[in-house]
Amino acid sequence: MRLIYRIVVRLGIALFVIMSLWATMFYFAMVDEIRDETDDSLEDYSSLIITRVLAGRELPQVGDGSNNSFTLTPIDAAYAAARPHLKYEDHNFYIAEKQETEPARVLTTIFHDEQGRYYELQVATPTFEKDDLFHALLSWIVLLYLVLLLITLGVTTLIFYGNMRPLYAMLQWLDKYKPGVKPSPVPVDTQVKEFDRLGRALQGAVDRSEELVERQSQFIGNASHELQTPLAIIGNRVEWLLDEGNLTEEQAAELFKIQSTLGRAVRLNKTLLLLTKIENGKFPESTMVDVAALVEEAVEMYNEIYSSRQMQVKVDVGEGLKVEMNESLATTMVSNLIKNMYVHSAEGSSGSVRISSGRLIVENDGEQVLDGERIFDRFYQGPKSKGSMGLGLPLVAAVCRTYSLGISYQFRQGRHCFMVDFS
């Protein structure tokens, strides 16, 4: 969820709660105030009538335009004793003048004259309809809420984006950042302390990480130097002995075996370095690579190199496949995937390499299912196979990780199936 949406939603909810509370309180305060006023006027009216009754003067006419009405009923003492002498009530009241029943405020007063005769006086005045008031208030509150909300959110959004610009600049910068590629400095063009600190912290973290990458690559360089020179020395000394010529057949055979073993050590070292370099993103350049051409070349090469295995390999590149990636990494991936098929196939078995709908699929006959979880781990050896270092598939996986390509292994109908998804 984007920050601005979250702020908008929360502001909306907070405003809603506040406005609802305020509307409720406003409603009750209003009702109260109106009732107070009505009661005051009823009281005045009531005392006017009582005064006139007691003075024996003429009572006011109903229908003088004031909407007030009254009833005066003589009552006995017992009734008077059982009732409160002053009572306010809300109920529907028949207003003779209008000839209809309306909600009204009614004041019932019980009083007696000098002769001790009790009267009950009911004065009434039509009041507002609460439902009407409630609806009116509600619609005005809703309108106010919406207008307030729009204004608040508009202003908030403007202020938000105005003030958060440094944050978005940093985020944009982070999106572009790739470990191992020298980054431009973090944009911290701001007077705001928090953003300034954030920018500095980011710069610090990136600098440290860049330094680690740099140190790691230096370490790899040094380690490689330390190992390559002794390897070169051994190899060259063996070659010297072979070149000298005066060796027995057995001695020469031993030397060739040493050379072959040394060759493996050299390749192992090279492959490990390559793997580490791929994982450190040391192959940033990319071009349009024709995967179909790489497949065809690799199959041709391996058909020749592994010709003694007499394998039947079908190639179907379909409509071809071109992807944007580093050429040498693409070659590494394709050739290792295909080589894996040749190395782990029995004599006379069959295999196939297909390209279809953006996927490269390499299949070969197999006897048992492999551990799909560990097959891409370094030095994992399934059923032991001659001429395998256990680094081919890890190389393929490392390239796939670099470009976020999906790679999967399946065993179906007696065939190993490796699939790289380029889409």
Binding site: G221, Q228, T229, G235
Partner: protein, 226 residues
Amino acid sequence: MKILIVEDDASLREIIHRALAAEGYVVETASTFFEADSKLAGYSYDCILLDVMLPDGSGLDLLEHLRALGKRENVIIISARDSVEDKVTGLEFGADDYLPKPFHTAELLARVKSVLRRGRTAGELSINLGNVSLKPENRVVSISGKELPLLKKEYDILFYFMQRPSHVIDKAVLAEAVWGDYADDADNFQFVYAQIKNLRRKLVDAAATIEIVSVYGFGYKLVVKE
């Protein structure tokens, strides 16, 4: 032909020295940046083998220094770091070739020869051995002046041998040189043998005075017939 080896490892320095001396070159060595720098100030060489990582400085700095002095020596960079950056920087600074460690002696000798040949005879780049002549720039092989048609792999193999006459070449090393990384981990070298067989037959049919002989059953050697 005078060659200077700049390499800090004594053992490697000794082997390169021995191999180059056996080819008839006059060889001098330097083990540090300082030593190399003072030798270069006083003498001139036909070819310099330059290690990138020296205890007291970078071989690339030495190369830059050399070019700044206006010296045009042939330089082959020897680096343990098989990295693109080193290669690019080296070649930008005017190195003539780049050889990653670990290398085969035969490969080193071939590179030295190639660099010296380029430096000496502008344009005339063919390699001649017996009655066979090979022109790398247009991949043409001719025997006694008559062109010999070869397939791609056969040509690559012959080219490799002609750069290293009289040296024992391991089948595995040859496979790596011609088939590249594809031949890594190959457990059977019949495919090399098949190509050699065809090449041999073509050479015999064309009455070439060179031949590829098997050595110890594991390798080959290109020799000029007596």
